[in-house]
């Protein structure tokens, strides 16, 4: 009997000993809003896991990291619900790839932990990340996440349509600079779109062909008319009534002129992509990642020969040409086991190294997050990444990380929808937006 006991004891000891030596860790990565081209959002974590395991091995520790990735969610809503419910249940994935707008509510709820608790922001590669992008991944002075990619939302021109209404090649080449200088405005957009429709170059409703659903893109048009999203002094959200009304009016004018469809909102995305990528629309706006879609699935083989891109033009004297960047961020969720948080933090750090991030940037046609990426040949050799970074990213700003920004954005969009579809006049829509926001945000809103 005592022998048996000894055997048990030895087995137990050996088991404990091995457990201490070899650490098995499973890191779950959930990526929202991702398709095939975005696979490096989690594959970079897998590559990083391999590197980290090797580093541990050199130090004589055995670390086995299993990365389990999940990307198939119905949409952003389902993804966000899945993450928050999992966090409530204590089973949140260690790493989440999501919009930076989630930082405010999720940090307040205690779902996420700051990366700065684990990582030295003064050390490479984090000290090489563009400061404005790092800023976007922070909230309340705390670095909650790391930017996973950068993007920007440009205005597009179909070159043949522009030539058809009288632009020369030189004029088209000069467009981005004219837009940036505020010499080509949204009024010119309407005029050119009108010409394109009148001359039969594009069908009615296809002169100016905007995004089909709510998104940061529409905040850009608010900024074009001088609107400000957040007051830098107090951190409160701002409703600039005049800017909002002029922005609504712009879309109403576009509908009345017949250059934009009245029922454009809700158009199927696949239809939209295929139309803009192949010259069915004269002017439109989109995102830098559209490059991959246009040249890939939609089969546009000559992007630079057919499409010109610029900032979103200014709307009036008060506004400016602008673009919004909405980087996705790597966030770490609160875990039972501190070791998981630590390993997850190391992984997102490694995944942010220039070479690894460039894999994602080029494959998905996003922009890089750090300066050194221009020294990675894959990145610098890519014409789109190179030109878009230079033309757009420098002036890009982001939507504010604010607890109530979601309400603000939804209400602004509902107002635009009402004006666009003719249910309300722009003035009525703005009044409704003001009433709604004042009631819901209270002291957190400044009305101008």
């Amino acid at each position: 009997m005592s022998n048996l006991r000894a055997v048990f004891a030895t087995t137990a000891l050996v088991a404990c000993g091995t457990a201490a030596l070899a650490e098995d860790i499973t890191i779950n990565v959930w990526a929202g809003g991702s398709n095939d081209a975005d696979s490096y959002r989690w594959e970079a974590i897998e590559l990083a896991a391999d590197l980290l395991e090797r580093e541990y091995a050199i130090l004589g520790e055995e670390l086995n990291i299993t990365v389990e990735a999940k990307r198939d969610f119905g949409g952003w809503d389902e993804f966000k619900q899945a993450v928050t419910l999992a966090a409530e249940a204590g089973t949140a994935p260690a790493i989440v790839v999501t919009s930076h707008l989630d930082i405010a509510p999720w940090s307040q709820a205690g779902y996420i932990v700051p990366v700065e608790d684990y990582l030295d922001l003064d050390a490479w590669p984090l000290n090489d990340i563009y400061p404005n992008l790092l800023e976007i991944a922070s909230y309340d002075g705390i670095q909650w996440g790391l930017p996973q990619d950068a993007e920007s939302r440009p205005f597009f021109f179909w070159k043949d349509a522009m030539k058809g209404i009288g632009y020369s090649d030189a004029d088209i080449d000069a467009l981005p600079a004219k837009v940036a200088a505020g010499e080509y405005t949204l009024q010119d957009v309407l005029a050119d779109a009108q010409k394109a429709v009148d001359m039969g170059l594009v069908e009615e409703g296809y002169g100016f062909y905007p995004r089909v659903s709510n998104g940061p893109d529409y905040a850009q048009f608010y900024q074009s008319f001088g609107g400000q999203l957040q007051d830098p002094e107090t951190g409160k959200l701002v409703l600039d009534k005049a800017a909002m009304e002029e922005m609504y009016q712009f879309f109403v004018d576009a509908v009345e002129a017949g250059v934009t469809r009245k029922n454009h909102i809700g158009t199927d995305w696949s239809q939209w992509y295929s139309e803009v990528a192949n010259g069915k629309a004269a002017l439109w706006h989109g995102g830098t990642w559209h490059y991959a879609r246009y040249t890939g699935k939609e089969g546009n083989d000559d992007f630079f020969g057919t499409i010109q891109f610029s900032l979103i033009p200014a709307g009036n004297d008060k506004g400016r040409a602008n673009t919004i960047t909405q980087p996705l961020v790597y966030l770490l969720t609160d875990q039972q086991d501190d070791m998981v948080e630590d390993v997850a933090a190391q992984l997102v750090k490694i995944a942010s190294e220039p070479r690894l991030n460039s894999l994602h940037a080029i494959k998905s046609a996003h922009l890089g997050i750090s300066r050194q990426q221009s020294n990675v040949e894959l990145y610098s050799g890519d014409r789109w990444a190179d030109e878009a970074t230079e033309r757009l990213l420098g002036t890009a700003n982001a939507q504010p990380n604010h607890l109530q920004y979601g309400v603000f954005a939804e209400t602004m969009w509902k107002g635009l929808e009402a004006a666009w579809t003719g249910v309300q006049t722009p003035a009525e829509a703005v009044a409704a937006v003001e009433a709604e926001l004042t009631a819901k945000l209270g002291d957190e809103l400044i009305v101008r």
Partner: protein
């Protein structure tokens, strides 16, 4: 007798459990959530205590004196004796000594500067990032941006900052990150101009769809009744399709039918009408489509119920009326309709309640558009509670929306019972009595 009762209860118990879990509990929870400020940011399971710039802003709005705010904001990181002693214990006394020589009595406003100061250590370098971060925490003297799991811990830390106890209550309340009880949701429902519109939309939706459901269901039941048996069954089977099709597929077909490149636009195009979106062109179009989509689904159900009720009418009555020379219309008016009172009541009650809370077809078809024209109350509840671009879902406000539906549902049931003289309908039949 007693045994029989117990047995009955035992047989009922699975149903009771289901009713409690899936019907009663959601209602109770809705009532409960409706009086909280629950959102993504507050979480569901409870909160902690955290002072950050958002809570300070709230305190400022509430009129907390500037000097108290300043005190809460101040602090940061300080290389003081207490911190050095703690550092000596955590690492080595030599480390603490070196730091004191380098940065003794220094103050840093943020954590990165404190970490940089620790990096200045040369002889006693702290190499691992994690260790350095832990060391930095030993010098933290501000309670800003620190989460406290319990109220007691927060209050203790608050008193260490030297804040007067008179303000402690107010500050603690503002620092709580979890949900609290509030009646603000209900007040908001009355204050928001949009809710009036949703209410009007809902009334319109329920009235029109209900009328269509019952009317068209009756029409189908009666007309198929007079068809030869096989043909009637075939027609009923066809009209039953909308109900058995998956909603997504059913609505997709409607979209193909009405979209500006769809069937309707193509056919009307032959007559020179410029193509337009027949679903979303104006709010009238949207309403027509919404009522039809829901109406066909509801009508098929009414048709089945009414058909079987008509079949239950003794055929001898119909034959006798024919002998008396009654026309088809007279048969319908004087024989069939009077005997359908009970099924009509049932369908009306059932459909009102289900229409009040059903929004899936609208969500899939118009999503409340154009410009919120078809946004009904239950859809607004869904959008508020489960759909937010910025990720901060307002569970509390959404539940308040839903609670109104619960109240209206109960009230409507009571009114219907009274209106159709429910009591008389459920009395024992006189013949069998």
């Amino acid at each position: 007798m007693r045994n029989v009762n117990w047995l009955g209860l035992a047989f009922l118990s699975p149903a009771l459990v289901m009713v409690t879990l899936f019907f009663l509990l959601p209602v109770v929870l809705t009532g409960f959530f409706a009086f909280t400020n629950m959102s993504t940011a507050t979480g569901v399971t409870g909160g902690e205590y955290l002072l950050n710039s958002a809570s300070l802003r709230r305190l400022q709005n509430e009129g907390l004196p500037q000097e108290v705010l300043a005190k809460l904001e101040a602090g940061g990181y300080r290389v003081d004796a207490a911190g050095l002693a703690a550092l000596a214990e955590a690492t080595t006394p030599a480390t603490a000594q070196e730091l004191e020589q380098l940065h003794g009595a220094a103050e840093f406003s943020d954590r990165r500067d404190m970490e940089r100061a620790l990096k200045d250590l040369l002889d006693n370098r702290i190499r691992r990032t994690r260790d350095r971060k832990e060391a930095a925490e030993l010098f933290k003297r501000s309670i800003l941006n620190e989460r406290f799991a319990t109220e007691a811990a927060f209050r203790a830390a608050l008193s260490e900052t030297g804040t007067r106890t008179a303000y402690a209550e107010q500050i603690t309340t503002a620092a709580y990150t979890g949900w609290v009880w509030t009646t603000k949701n209900v007040e908001l429902l009355f204050a928001l101009p949009s809710t009036l519109r949703y209410a009007a939309n809902t009334t319109l939706y329920v009235t029109l769809t209900l009328a269509f459901n019952v009317g068209f269901g009756l029409f189908l039941a009666i007309t198929t009744f007079y068809l030869p048996k096989g043909q009637g069954a075939a027609f009923r089977a066809i009209w039953f399709l909308p109900r058995i099709l998956p909603p997504v597929l059913y609505v997709l077909m409607w979209r193909w039918f009405t979209w500006d490149t769809g069937f309707l636009a193509t056919v009307t195009g032959y007559f020179g009408i410029s193509p337009k979106n027949w679903m979303l062109d104006t709010s009238y179009h949207a309403w027509t489509v919404v009522v039809l989509i829901n109406g066909f689904v509801g009508a098929s159900m009414g048709m089945i119920i009414f058909s079987s009720a008509i079949r239950a009418i003794p055929t001898s009555m119909l034959h006798a009326s024919e002998v008396d020379g009654a026309s088809r219309w007279q048969q319908v008016r004087w024989i069939i309709l009077p005997q359908l009172a009970w099924p009509i009541l049932f369908i009306t009650c059932y459909q009102t309640l289900s229409l009040l809370t059903s929004f899936e077809y609208i969500l899939l078809a118009t999503d409340g558009g154009p410009g919120r024209a078809t946004e009904v109350w239950s859809l607004a509840a869904y959008h508020t509670a489960l759909n937010n671009y910025g990720g901060n879902l307002e569970y509390g406000l959404g539940a308040a929306f839903a609670l109104v539906l619960v109240v209206i549902g109960i009230a409507a049931s009571l009114i219907y019972f009274r209106l159709f003289n429910f009591k008389r309908l459920i009395t024992k039949p006189l013949i069998e009595g």
